[in-house]
Symmetry: C2
Subunit: 124 residues, 2 copies
DNA sequence: TAATTATTGCGATTATGTTGCAATAGTACA
DNA sequence: TGTACTATTGCAACATAATCGCAATAATTA
């Protein structure tokens, strides 16, 4: 399944890049300017996650958010940091705080999803 | 809004107590034996959360799970521990691992929602 | 026992996210 | 440049989780 370059995909990445935060499909659709189908945006986002370009956060409101994969640290997996959801401005940002824990014996880890919710510095 | 004791509420608590894990509305409905309306179960669960009897975890599948509030430590708030979702047996359990972090200045914390996903010790 | 009102069941609704299918449009190659 | 291949898109339908309004029921108190 070779990827193709399309205006839609560029636009989605561009919106995420300029926001600097994690965004939901809905937020992306509002900011993107051009009219792009909901299902298409989801498919683009899912493909980017598969390719390691984005990571997915599921917030405590049950919604998926997507953010550019920027590693806190070369050795960390990109998702292993805390996320902060501001319930006032409804944004999610990646915090530069690594998630530390050690699982009990015989547990196998696949994904880490840590979301702190509250009010961000801009909304206090 | 004074609470009343009903068979439904007792049944929900009892199921959660005997399972020892966090459960979704659907899982509770299956286990509960008697026929209770979906909306009712949700309302019972939400009320218990308000009253501090249960805590709510939103897993990375976007679903809500509910668990009895048992403190890891008297000084910790009950929700500040990691949760583990086994994607094989589809259960969520509270891990005795506290979540540690320090927020940047001017952030106000309301809730903590940390879910690790993978395979639990019983499914490896 | 009667009055008050919390709780419940039912149906409808909202919202998020996915999928099937046909149409469109990148990409590679002659 | 033109053509074939197939990734991508739009649309509609679908699936599921969760909530809400309203009328009926039932727990509590006096």
């Amino acid at each position: 399944m070779k990827r193709r370059n399309t205006a839609t995909k560029e636009a989605v990445l561009s919106v995420l890049h300029s926001s600097g935060k994690a965004m939901s499909q809905g937020a992306i659709e509002k900011k993107i300017g051009v009219d792009i189908n909901r299902a298409t945006i989801y498919r683009v986002l899912n493909r980017y996650c598969e390719d390691g370009v984005l990571h997915r956060i599921v917030a405590d409101n049950g919604k998926q958010y997507f953010a550019l994969c920027v590693r806190c640290d070369e050795n960390d997996k990109p998702q292993n940091h805390f996320h902060f959801r501001c319930s006032t401005c409804e944004t999610i940002e990646c915090l530069p705080i690594p998630v530390n824990f050690s699982l009990p014996q015989n547990y196998k880890l696949e994904t880490v999803n840590c979301v702190l919710t509250g009010t961000c510095k801009d909304c206090v």
